[in-house]
Symmetry: C2
Subunit: 106 residues, 2 copies
């Protein structure tokens, strides 16, 4: 047990809390969309085909965990990504999992 055991686990725990937020397909797609630029809830809804309260729940999680923030404009609420960690990890995930796919046989 190395002397920096606690610090390693402290980092691991922080990273894990973050990873758990990302580890949901809806939230991940939401974040990817938001990473491209600010977006209001109804736009996200039409982009995602999930029920609106469910969407709002997932957005709530992203808010609570500090990955995004909001701004009201009239009836609409606009979301945007504020966490630098999110942007960095999303970029890495996209590189690994959204590569141009091999040409499909038909």
């Amino acid at each position: 047990m190395p002397h920096d055991f606690k610090q390693i686990y402290a980092s691991a725990n922080r990273a894990c809390s973050f990873l758990k937020v990302l580890a949901n397909p809806d939230r991940l797609v939401l974040l990817c969309r938001l990473a491209e630029g600010e977006c209001c809830v109804s736009e996200l809804e039409s982009a995602l085909n999930i029920h609106q309260p469910t969407l709002s729940q997932q957005l709530g999680i992203l808010r609570e965990e500090g990955l995004v923030t909001t701004r009201r404009e009239g009836k609409h609420i606009f979301y945007r990504v504020i966490s630098l960690e999110s942007i960095a990890i999303l970029k890495a995930l996209q590189t690994q999992f959204c590569k141009p796919r091999p040409p499909e046989p038909h």
Copy 2:
């Protein structure tokens, strides 16, 4: 609903399965250790202070998900990381969550 909706979700689902494997402090610490180089179970055990069957369970998950592979040498079994995705994401996580911490007041 954009035309590439299915493909976006296919990527998101693959990324999520992967993220779920990483989203556990023990597995994350294990992977970080293994990313530094091959390591046998007993070394991992003494580095992690978790019970052997628990460790073995976690290593089993990493194996099943294709993040690591093993090699036997006598009584010992050596693990190493084989997934390029793992290496890339671990590196990104380390950059974001294992930065040199701000100097502590004492």
